[in-house]
Symmetry: C2
Subunit: 358 residues, 2 copies
């Protein structure tokens, strides 16, 4: 094989210098929580409005065969919890918010947890856990951004109820509440719903966050999240919404375009300890925030998830529960998959301004 | 607001028991490297053949305006390295593999690295780093699975050359080589290309892997990857390919369907120290593996990335470089984003059997 290798190009060829010198210097920002550096790629950056008008494609836009629509209660596992019109019976229409087990659970709700080792030395457990679906409304085509506030209130009260209940189950170590909106966020059913998974383990990602928070508290005697709230409020330019007990911002080192954190201003590690009043205030600020996202970016696919301390650990006072919103307008490619370093193509301050003004 | 709450359903209603008892128990598998538990969701599982026949959609299937096609060399930054036909000049046709700087770099290749603190206490750095594109072939429509082996050899020799060169640059701490194939893997240009990014930091994900490997070596005096290779070979059922110096397998705790690890059987932390002979053997086994994926799943979107030790650290003898292939046939949804725990809907042994037999 004969191979010829070209010499390096001259680095200052005037005609091509444009490629070497980005107009604005890209920036690396340190995420104090994940301890990752995030690349804010200002040169390949998009303007926030470049993302607008690509509404979330859905898998089954039609209500015709939707198992979550009223009248098809028999198509789902029986209801675990519901807010209902007076006098209506479980597993019949008349519900306002309805919780059932997931018909295709990632984890099985019954059985004993057993950990085993394969002959070669790999570890496995049987998958005991809970996997529930929170059907958010009887109306197939509504989204939280376009719902009545009273309906959103019920969704969040259902979150509180089911989260607390699963947190008490002695088999579970952690509870993850999340929502997938739009196909780009992993939804297979378009009827608005959230999900909740209870795990017999503490995920390593949560364990790492806990360690980071514990170390910060040991060093500074302060909560890392409380400090981040203070820092975000002092800079101000990434704040989106604020109410008596909550604040919403695009974090300084946002991992993706339009990422938003909904932070309780009161310090508490456990979501399940939220009061009814706080829960209704949370419902209001999340709805306002999702309305802004809906208007600014045009109903994009998004996920949100509630991060709460492990439910069976007592020494977690250094943690601070929160809800994070992840719009799925960009795709993690090989670099992000390989390095864990995210490239965010929208400058957080610009994303925040755009969302605030929506 | 009057809310009615339904009572819990009876847990053993015979008509609905099907929902409670998955036919096969889901399984949690411990990933010794990431220290994550992976959920193998056997009940919501898909058969491997369910993924077949959804070829990677591409952004710009047409060669008409492709900046990577021969004759359009002026549309890219000037070439840094190329394998060329004898007598041809840089930045003209006649190249077989061509490396240029990325026209839209995530990081800027010039400048001094400076770390600053904002008044509120956030950290940032200016984004000094390298971002190069390795154009794998002059032929717009080829993919590695369908190329001549001699062409794949040149791609991998270019990997070795550019990786080694960037590893020597005193400003960089780590080098990430990766490939995005198909829109589902984040490609915007369909002409086959890989990318290489050199970073002024060590990504936290890599640091965590290093820590895991260091602890394993401290405890056992063995390399974790060498042990994983032994364990995989002893169980055997997840092995896909093997040659004198390399082995390919679907790992026990695969994070996604059809994930494959290409592992050197010789222990070395640094990809840049690969010999030309080993590099050609790597090119051969990666091509064979991608052919299997192409035939089995039908040209799916995928990423691969080379994981190598930080390039400026001396005490990394416990690490073991490797190449990991991530087919992008499933979507990370809110649960995965929120918890870091992956749900893999294809049992690794079934994925391996299906790939082996393709």
């Amino acid at each position: 094989m004969t191979l010829w290798i070209s010499t390096r190009s001259k680095p200052f060829d005037i005609n091509i210098a444009i490629y070497y010198y980005p107009q604005s210097m890209p920036e690396l920002r340190y995420n104090l929580l994940t301890r990752d550096w995030i690349i804010i790629a200002t040169d390949r950056a998009k303007r926030p409005e470049d993302f607008a008008g690509k509404p979330a494609p859905v898998a089954d836009a039609s209500a015709a065969n939707c198992p979550f629509c009223p009248g098809r209660e028999a198509k789902t596992p029986p209801e675990i919890f519901a807010f209902r019109d007076p006098g209506t019976q479980p597993n019949t229409p008349g519900w306002q918010v309805r919780v059932t087990r997931n018909a295709f659970p990632a984890l099985a709700p019954e059985g004993e947890l057993t950990k085993t080792k394969t002959p070669a030395g790999f570890f496995k457990m049987n998958g005991v856990g809970a996997h529930e679906v929170i059907i958010e409304t009887p109306e197939h085509d509504k989204v939280i951004a376009t719902m009545e506030q009273a309906q959103v209130d019920k969704i969040f009260l259902a979150y509180k109820e089911r989260f607390s209940s699963l947190a008490r189950d002695p088999r579970f170590q952690s509870v993850i509440l999340f929502k997938n909106h739009g196909r780009g966020a992993g939804t297979s059913l378009s009827h608005p719903h959230s999900q909740i998974i209870a795990l017999p383990i503490v995920p390593d990602v949560l364990r790492n966050r806990l360690n980071t928070c514990r170390e910060h508290t040991a060093e500074t005697k302060c909560c890392l999240y409380c400090d981040l709230i203070k820092m975000e409020k002092s800079e101000g330019e990434r704040i989106i919404e604020e109410s008596a007990n909550f604040v919403v911002f695009v974090p300084f080192a946002a991992r993706m375009p339009f990422e938003m954190w909904v932070m309780p201003k009161f310090h508490n590690p456990n979501f399940q300890e939220i009061t009814t009043e706080q829960c209704l205030e949370l419902a209001a600020i999340v709805k306002k925030t999702l309305e802004k996202l809906y208007r600014a970016v045009g109903n994009p696919s998004f996920n949100y998830a509630i991060y709460s301390a492990p439910v069976k650990e007592h020494d977690v006072s250094y943690f601070h529960w929160n809800l994070k919103i992840f719009p799925r307008v960009a795709m993690a490619a090989g670099f992000e998959v390989g390095s864990g370093v995210m490239i965010n193509t929208v400058v957080p301050e610009m994303a925040a301004k755009y969302l605030r003004e929506a």
